[in-house]
């Protein structure tokens, strides 16, 4: 890049009022393409997925087979449902560490309702209501009692897991009705239902985030809570809503898992919250609020699912996956921090 290019860009980024501004100046060529790729989390993720996919495919041609790809998506579906809600939580400027425990509780609640003889729709409703109810309590503690979300949800991680163990006695719940299992194991023209649920949740969330007034207000709350309040946005209601959404989605994910595995497992979902948050961060959402998208989250979840699948296909010990995931998360945040400095000219500090 020539010095004139650089100065043109600097001049273009902070133009003086009253001057026509030409932002696009000096933005052509391969350098510009690389720059744009770096600046857009979605594009850098797609590139990462292509590179990784190529490597895996060379090592093991099974990777691009239809059945294997379906397996990857299916494994990612429950994580994605939780990650969608987590995207909303992070955009609002919060965090939810309780989703792993919540997914277990959602799964066993529905399973217990089923073994108690409730019809499937009622059992699912019970599972969702348990998630929404606990989400409401968390949301009220964060929005009204003003206890930091990190603390409330860290506590909830233990409390919810405890409730889950107490009501089940730590024992797995099975057998579950065939029809319930079908909801988790069946497929539509060889596309598993689980993937369909995830896609439906994803599309609904995308529209809510990018096109609805709610989504606009959510970003405002995460970006500048004082400005949002001054503009007449009901900040408490928005904050409350994301934790209800997160609890409900975690319960839904837990039921998806219990239907797939045909068992209500009180020990499931341990550590899931970290995997979910990692995926969302890799997907470009910011821990500091306002920034994030459902497409980014989808790609983040997919990238991590492909990494896990790739390690398996390349016969690398599954113990390595934690190392790899950790490196990916740190790398993603490092890229995000560079991105911030270039796009926002601010450092990610709180």
């Amino acid at each position: 890049m020539t010095p004139t290019d650089k100065s043109a860009r600097r001049g273009g980024a902070r133009p003086a009022a009253g001057e026509p501004t030409e932002q696009a100046e000096g933005e052509r060529g391969i350098g510009a393409l690389a720059r744009r790729a770096l600046l857009s989390p979605e594009i850098s993720l797609v590139l990462a997925i292509i590179v990784l996919g190529t490597i895996i495919q060379i090592q093991n041609p099974v990777f691009l087979k239809f059945d294997n790809l379906i397996l990857v998506f299916k494994a990612a579906s429950a994580t994605f449902v939780m990650a969608v809600a987590m995207t909303f939580v992070l955009i609002s400027g919060g965090i939810d560490l309780s989703v792993g425990s919540m997914s277990a509780l959602g799964g066993v609640s529905a399973a217990m309702a089923l073994t108690a003889g409730f019809p499937i729709p009622v059992a699912i409703l019970i599972g969702l209501l348990v998630g929404a109810g606990i989400g409401t309590v968390i949301g009220l503690l964060v929005s009204w009692a003003r206890i930091p979300a990190l603390i409330v949800t860290l506590g909830a991680l233990y409390v919810v897991r405890g409730i889950d163990l107490v009501i089940t006695g730590g024992v797995q719940i099975f057998p579950l009705p065939e029809a319930y299992k079908f909801l988790g194991q069946g497929s539509f023209f060889s596309v598993p239902f689980l993937i369909i649920y995830a896609v439906v949740v994803g599309i609904a969330a995308h529209v809510a985030l990018e096109n609805s007034k709610y989504g606009f207000h959510l970003r405002a709350v995460g970006g500048n809570i004082a400005a949002a309040r001054a503009a007449g946005i009901n900040v408490r209601r928005i904050t409350l809503s994301v934790y209800i959404l997160s609890g409900t989605c975690a319960a839904l994910a837990g039921m998806m898992i219990s239907a797939r595995t045909a068992v209500g497992d009180p020990a499931s979902g341990q550590g899931t919250e970290i995997a979910v948050i990692s995926s969302v961060i890799v997907g470009g959402a910011s821990l500091f609020g306002a920034v994030g998208s459902i497409t980014g989250t989808a790609l983040g979840v997919l990238l991590i699912a492909i990494i896990q699948n790739g390690l398996l296909l390349m016969n690398i010990s599954s113990y390595w996956q934690f190392v790899v995931l950790g490196v990916v998360v740190i790398g993603a945040v490092a890229i995000d921090s560079v991105r911030r400095q270039r796009v926002w000219r601010t450092k990610a500090t709180t």
């Binding site: 009022a17 001057e19 932002q23 609805s212 007034k213 007449g232 926002w344």
Partner: protein, 264 residues
């Protein structure tokens, strides 16, 4: 949003229409500190009034009272000649007053269009009409000559003057009859300052009332029709810009002519 408007309207109709905002014998104290003592203030449609005074003279207290952030201890607020109580900044909006504060209340991470319509997005069935939003915002930006690179650029990338422009556009789009600007040109360059002053004059020429709070007397003489000088929480004097001098205003601010003025 409730406005407790007392219908006891003393002024005649036409005159009260022209008077957008007023204060009558307003006092406010913080503990032992008397921020305002029996201050009267008026802002009419189609005029620019500058509020000047030393630090602690009570300028920001008046701004906060007029924009509904705080309530006066005694005295009344008049909106179009009617006695009014603001319970919150929203009451002030509803009364047609919009305040552009120093910190501007913009969301840096969001783009220009979203910031202009923050909290008031045009929507149908809960879905935001983004195109309509950008079009209406662009209309205002064009009419007032407010220049920003694009509607989809994040505010974080804008200069100070452009941010002022976004905040002013928000006031216009909310149909504010009175606009309060607290240090509108603080930290702006020469060219940007001139641009913001142009916008302020356009607001006046459209028949809005503009209250400008500033330390910068050159700016005040450049743009204001009337200068309201505060000193130690009291009105030290009100002068038409065309019939006063820098020296006189400085004297009023410093209290040199206090002996002539006190007794108000």
């Amino acid at each position: 949003m409730t406005i407790a408007a007392v219908a006891g309207d003393r002024a005649n109709g036409a005159e009260s229409e022209a008077k957008l905002l007023g204060l009558r014998s307003v006092s406010k104290s913080y503990g032992h500190v008397q921020a305002l003592v029996g201050v009267d203030f008026d802002l009419a449609a189609g005029e620019i009034v500058a509020l000047v005074g030393d630090n602690g003279a009570g300028k920001s207290t008046i701004v906060k009272i007029l924009s509904g952030v705080i309530n006066p201890d005694t005295g009344t607020i008049l909106v179009r000649g009617r006695e009014t109580v603001f319970h919150s900044p929203h009451d002030a909006y509803a009364g047609g007053t919009f305040s552009v504060f120093q910190d501007l209340a913009l969301v840096e991470a969001l783009d220009v269009g979203r910031n202009v319509f923050l909290g008031r997005e045009p929507s149908r069935f809960g879905l935001v009409r983004r195109r309509q939003m950008d079009r209406e915002a662009l209309d205002v930006f064009t009419t007032f000559g407010i220049k920003v690179p694009s509607m989809s650029m994040t505010v974080a990338l804008l200069s100070g003057g452009q941010r002022q422009g976004v905040a002013i556009a928000r006031a216009i789009l909310r149909g504010a009859a009175a606009v309060i600007m607290d240090e509108p040109t603080a930290a702006l360059g020469v060219r940007e300052t001139a641009h913001v002053l142009d916008i302020i004059r356009q607001l006046r020429d459209q028949g809005r009332g503009v209250l400008v709070v500033s330390h910068n007397l050159d700016l005040v003489f450049d743009v204001a029709d009337r200068i309201h000088v505060l000193r130690l929480g009291r009105t030290a004097g009100i002068r038409d810009t065309s019939r006063t001098t820098h020296a006189e205003i400085v004297h009023l601010i410093m209290g040199v002519e206090e002996t002539n003025e006190v007794g108000a």
